[in-house]
């Protein structure tokens, strides 16, 4: 219920603007014609405001903190601009004047709209000054990590040099705003540490690594809690997996190879061979009771673990899924190749396993009492033993493990060539000063995304010489100088215009917009040759860049910054009420759906109205079941058509519905504000300071609708809440994790109907989406604004309006297709 107090800066600016406005315009109040009025602007607009607006926005009443009788006649500042823009937007939308008061004729309304629009355009025309916003911005953690990966050709599946960075602050969900991305001493100290880690990793082993093989045939202990049972039942002859990793208190969720706890000695690709058996896929128990589907093959996952971080049988902060395998019911040998970082050991997991095995042991015995001996002892120890030894629960057995690697290593490695230069031969003999300087200069140019200046190289060389002077070997001193490059403002900040010319800045802006990473050789080449100055070339590059897999970083970064998708999971749903969320890894699935959906809109260049309603989406089996759809074949995500009109578009996607709830219950206010901010681009003003907050009381039969109705009976609350609440009510049929519901429980039915200002009524979310589609122009404007803010790394102000209008004019002819829109935004960089 609180996210909307987190005021977007635009509305804050507006409030301040309002205050300033009242002071400024009072001076004109005595002589309203002081500015003169040659073209009838005042003759048209002033009487209109007096007749239709000033009852509520005048001397008596200043609804929504707006007062128009004192509004300047000329648009002479951004403050006045904001008010006139607001007036014209409200008139265009037909939201004002409200339906219960006198309405102007269509002709009069249009005349006023035209007059104001013209005047706004004239203001923009006379104010084409260079932006006074700061344009220097540092890389955020996401960009830093991607840049490191590209600069040094490092696999960052496991490696995260930003792990200890203080978390980046966001503004309106944007994580790349220069103003908000601060560097502090704490962060700089961590940049120094990160540079050390990165360069050490890039340098890697100084000798070509020998391929090693490790074999494990017995002694498969896993974790103290279950070892005592396994000692008796199988003498540790194999590992046994029971739980999914989403369990609360894990028992047999991870199969670590404890004899290989120190992990692999070097970064690289390793082959893991093992024998595995899917045991008891078909079992004598009720599938509902276990929550597993006997028709699905059991699936094994492989995730890395690091004993320095904590116990290997428990979750760890870094454990990406490295491989996934469908198992046959018969014992069979499998082999996968995965990238592992030095010190990491592979751990086996059970992708579609049991949930909370620790509680399940005794529940199983209680539920299937007749299948177990009588007079069993009480307590967890006895229950666990009997459920494992005598029960027939689905489980995975693993033995005969062999690990071999590192494999297929080029020598010198790609990372070493990135560090020392592409002609590097891997010999560590001393190089002369001139060669050293050239190599470091090239590295600095790559890192700074532009040629390095002589002075910059001088300073890097001085680090090199200092290190040589204290007795470091050549390669070590070189590496230390490389660390300095990674701490330089040249690397950490994105510059608009470097000493080397503006084109390098543009190459970087395009790269960080579409890849969240550094420009590649091609972009740098075009910057150098000046070809990037040609808009046609920029278009061509955008197409190329969107076709490159690196643009997945755009989908990820933009969805985080537009919808707040990165916050999904930051308010975890209640385990008791929403067990499925944890059992079936739904948060990952939800994120994946929205990501694949957005990716598809780009790849197919579809109209952005698909975001509002769509006849297809992407689901895997658990998500399909969550939606009550037929599960697709196989375990991977598939594009499916949506026949259920409730589900198409973002508002039917569980990701959006979960991140707009708090994991416990839903609030029409939070969801309403989210819609206004992110889909409609009209964030509501904050509540007045002395408003009494809702104190939810669910003891009686009160529904949220009853509570909000009471809230709305106060005039000052109603002003905004009649705009907010109906939007949220339209989504009330979706529970806190996006499941469909028809009642709040205890016989309190859900009413998802509502009426928008202007008298448009709807009965449910299906109707509501039709209303939204009718307002798709407003949505297009909001989305374009978000794209532009994300691309430029700054929140937008009133002066950006003409740019957005220009983009929309271009894309309108083709129904605002998403890739087109991205391209037009890129052309504004």
């Amino acid at each position: 219920m609180s996210s909307w107090f987190h005021l977007p800066s635009v509305s804050r600016v507006m409030l301040i603007a309002m205050t300033a406005l009242l002071i400024v315009t009072t001076a004109f109040a005595d002589s309203p014609n002081a500015n003169g009025d040659s073209d009838g602007f005042a003759n048209v607009v002033r009487p209109f405001l007096a007749t239709y607006c000033q009852d509520c926005h005048g001397p008596e009443d200043q609804s929504g903190d707006r007062r128009f009788d004192q509004l300047a006649i000329e648009i002479d500042s951004d403050n006045t601009l904001i008010d006139y823009q607001d007036i014209v937007d409200q008139l265009n939308l037909g939201e004002m004047p409200p339906e219960d008061v006198d309405q102007p004729s269509d002709e009069v309304r249009q005349k006023v709209i035209d007059a104001i629009t013209e005047r706004i355009a004239a203001y923009h025309e006379s104010n084409r000054s260079v932006s006074d916003q700061p344009i220097l911005r540092r890389l955020n953690a996401r960009e830093y990590r991607n840049t490191i990966a590209d600069l040094f050709q490092l696999d960052v599946t496991i490696f995260d040099p930003t792990q200890k960075f203080p978390r980046d602050q966001t503004i309106e969900h944007l994580d790349n705003v220069g103003e908000t991305l601060v560097i502090s001493g704490h962060l700089l100290a961590r940049y120094l540490d990160a540079a050390d880690q990165v360069v050490t990793k890039a340098m890697g082993s100084l000798e070509p690594p020998a391929v090693q093989t490790w074999t494990f045939k017995d002694g498969f202990r896993q974790q103290p809690e279950i070892d005592q049972v396994h000692r008796k039942t199988n003498r540790f002859a194999h590992m046994t997996l029971y739980d999914v990793i989403g369990a609360d208190k894990h028992e047999g969720a991870y199969g670590p190879i404890l004899d290989f706890a120190a992990g692999v000695p070097l970064d690289g690709i390793y082959e893991i061979r093992f024998q595995a058996t899917a045991v008891n896929r078909e079992h004598p128990y009720d599938p509902e009771f276990l929550g597993t589907d006997p028709s699905e093959p059991l699936r094994l996952g492989i995730r890395p673990g690091n004993r320095e971080v904590g116990n290997l049988h428990l979750p760890q902060p870094i454990e990406p899924l490295l491989a996934e395998i469908e198992l046959s019911d018969e014992p069979q040998e499998y082999s996968v190749r995965v990238h592992l970082d030095a010190g990491y050991t592979p751990r086996f997991t059970f992708r579609n396993g049991l949930m909370d095995a620790r509680n399940l042991w005794s529940r199983l015995i209680k539920t299937y009492r007749d299948q177990f001996p009588k007079n069993l002892k009480n307590g967890i120890v006895a229950a666990r033993y009997n459920a494992i030894a005598l029960g027939e629960l689905p489980q995975i057995h693993i033995d005969n493990i062999q690990i071999r690697g590192p494999l297929h290593q080029d020598w010198p490695t790609a990372s070493q060539r990135a560090l020392f230069g592409k002609d590097w031969d891997g010999t560590l003999t001393e190089r002369d000063e001139e060669e050293t300087r050239e190599r470091l200069s090239n590295l600095a140019a790559n890192a700074y995304r532009r040629p390095a200046t002589e002075q910059e190289v001088d300073r890097i060389m001085s680090v090199f010489r200092t290190r040589r002077a204290v007795g470091k070997e050549w390669h070590q001193a070189y590496a230390d100088a490389a660390k300095a490059i990674l701490c330089s403002p040249g690397f950490l900040y994105l510059e608009e215009a470097s000493s080397a010319g503006p084109d390098y800045g543009l190459a970087s802006k395009l790269a960080y917009f579409l890849w969240s990473s550094m420009p590649d050789k091609e972009l740098i080449r075009l910057a150098k040759s000046g070809e990037l100055q040609d808009p046609k070339m920029v278009r061509q590059q955008v197409v190329r860049m969107l076709n490159d897999p690196r643009s997945d970083a755009f989908v990820d970064g933009f969805l985080g910054s537009w919808l707040g998708l990165r916050d999904l999971g930051s308010s975890p749903p209640d385990r008791g009420d929403f067990q499925a969320f944890y059992h079936y890894n739904l948060d990952e699935a939800m994120r994946e759906e929205t990501t694949l959906f957005t990716r598809y809109l780009i790849d197919e260049n579809l109209p952005i109205t698909e975001f509002l309603d769509s006849s297809f989406t992407f689901v895997n089996r658990p998500l399909a079941r969550h939606y009550g759809m037929d599960p697709p074949e196989g375990y991977e995500f598939q594009r499916v058509s949506v026949s259920d009109p409730r589900r198409g578009g973002l508002l039917g996607q569980a990701s959006v519905l979960t991140l707009t709830a708090n994991g416990i219950d839903t609030s029409p206010i939070v969801r309403g504000v989210w819609l206004l901010e992110n889909l409609l681009g009209t964030p509501p003003t904050p509540p007045p300071p002395d408003v009494e907050p809702l104190d939810p009381d669910v003891r009686g039969a009160k529904t949220i609708r009853d509570q909000l109705e009471k809230h709305r009976s106060t005039a000052s609350c109603n002003e905004c809440h009649r705009k907010i609440d109906p939007l949220g009510f339209a989504l009330e049929n979706f529970d806190p994790i996006g499941g469909w519901r028809t009642s709040y429980g205890r016989g309190k039915p859900i009413d998802a109907s509502g009426e928008l200002r202007g008298g448009v009524a709807f009965n449910n979310v299906v109707d509501f989406k039709k209303v939204l589609l009718e307002r798709s122009d407003q949505f297009a404007r909001a989305l374009t604004g978000k794209l532009l803010a994300y691309a430029t790394g700054r929140p937008l102000g009133p002066r950006d309006r003409p740019v957005i209008d220009g983009i929309l004019e271009t894309t309108e002819l083709q129904q605002h297709r998403f890739a087109d829109l991205i391209t037009e935004v890129a052309l504004q960089l």
Partner: protein, 425 residues
């Protein structure tokens, strides 16, 4: 304005950054005759979801108030703490304002503040400077609802990255590096020093190319370089001083619920050995109700909707937190100041509270606040006016605490003075 403050801070750090006082270990101190006043310490503890108001606030005020259910665990130390009612920062935002507990300012508005939204503990840490190995210790995690408690903030508006658990805290406090590692660490400090020289040059030449707005941005970088220079010189000095011997074994991390007593013990040891004088503990993130045998989630219970069963479980969680705080006070009161009859509690201000007032309605007013120890007159429930035009800012308490800590300051964030009725003993 911010600029001058930056400059004065640099001068201050420069001035104090070089001279290093040896830690007042008990053994070292006994060699001295009579140490002057023992140093004042500050410990701030905050949680994410506040305290259930109906079980927290005592109904009477003054000296003879009856302890509420949530204050009962502090019975033994009744004379050692004060509970304050109707104090807050006048802010809204529910979970999004919890991080203002020690700053009085929302992170996004920090820029506009004269001291950049620095938190009270970090203000105190600046004052301690180089006198202890760690100017401050912040223990907590990045996880938790909307980032967790997020209590410690720097002057530049970034969060102080927390130490994640008892194991890391123990290692920082007590584990000395072996000679090889020490040499390597010393070498790394040298390297970082010369890297800073180089990048400072880069920043200065970059600054010539930038417009004034961008230069302001670059100032952050420049002052960060200086902050790290000071930190490096501190690290270098403290490297020569061996860490105190550990009197306990290295603990394991088992999630915050189980770790809480271990963390308090380590904080007490950190104060006792004068490894730090400022510690902050964020009770957020991994605090799992399941470790108290409760099957429901902590956040879910905080949305109790006045359902009796939920309230009962919520209060059980909160009472556990108070019990651990009480245990911490007990520990501090049992530790004698080196060479004096006074206990560590008498020189330690221990603040306990939250940036959340009422989690069920997501309000951030009437924050639960307790202050123990530190040489104040305690034993009372001090109630301040509830009326909106007469309210007293919580920051006034912080001014009193900072003054007691030794700072010559008469303001903090949105304070209007010191906190009236709170007197030194």
């Amino acid at each position: 304005m911010t600029k001058t403050l930056h400059a004065s801070r640099r001068q201050f750090l420069r001035a104090s950054g070089v001279a290093i006082a040896l830690p007042t270990l008990e053994s070292a101190a006994s060699a001295n005759d009579k140490p002057a006043q023992p140093p004042v310490r500050m410990v701030c503890v905050g949680n994410e979801f506040g305290m259930y108001p109906q079980s927290f606030w005592p109904s009477e005020t003054g000296r003879d108030y009856k302890l509420s259910h949530l204050l009962e665990p502090l019975e033994k130390h009744r004379q050692d703490f004060t509970v304050f009612s109707h104090l807050d920062h006048g802010l809204k935002g529910g979970h999004f304002a919890v991080h203002t507990f020690l700053t009085g300012v929302k992170a996004q508005d920090a820029k506009a503040m004269p001291e950049g939204g620095i938190s009270m503990d970090q203000r105190a840490a600046e004052f301690v400077g180089s006198q202890t190995r760690f100017p401050s210790l912040t223990i907590g995690s990045e996880s938790g609802l909307h980032g967790g408690c997020r209590m410690s903030w720097t002057r530049t508006g970034t969060r102080v990255p927390p130490i994640s658990g008892p194991r890391e805290l123990f290692r920082r406090l007590f584990v000395n590096e072996n000679e090889v590692a020490k040499l390597a660490a010393s070498d790394r400090l040298d390297l970082q020093g010369s890297i800073l020289d180089a990048v400072l040059g880069d920043a200065k030449s970059l600054s010539k190319r930038l417009n004034p707005n961008d230069n302001q941005k670059l100032d952050e970088y420049l002052s960060s370089v200086r902050d790290v220079e000071v930190k490096l010189s501190l690290d270098r000095q403290w490297q020569k001083v061996p860490k105190p011997d550990a009197t306990i074994d290295e603990p394991r991390d088992e999630g915050l619920t189980k770790d809480l007593p271990k963390i308090y013990d380590l904080v007490a040891l950190a104060l006792q050995t004068d490894s730090t004088r400022v510690a902050t503990l964020e009770v957020g993130g991994s605090f799992a109700a399941s470790d108290l045998g409760i099957r429901k989630g902590y956040h879910g219970l905080s949305h109790h909707g006045h359902v009796k069963e939920s309230v009962k479980l919520l209060v059980q969680i909160e009472r556990y937190q108070v019990e651990q705080f009480a245990r911490f006070l007990e520990k501090l009161s049992a530790i004698k100041q080196p060479g004096s009859d006074h206990s560590l509690l008498e020189s330690t201000m221990a603040l306990f509270g939250s940036g959340m007032g009422n989690a069920n309605s997501h309000t951030n007013h009437d924050l639960p606040v307790i202050l123990a120890g530190g040489g104040f007159q305690h034993g009372r429930h001090l109630s301040y006016p509830a009326k909106s035009n007469q309210r007293v800012p919580l920051c006034n308490l912080y001014v009193s605490m900072l003054q007691r800590f030794g700072l010559e300051t008469d303001f903090f964030a949105n304070s209007t003075g010191t906190l009236r009725d709170l007197e030194l003993a």
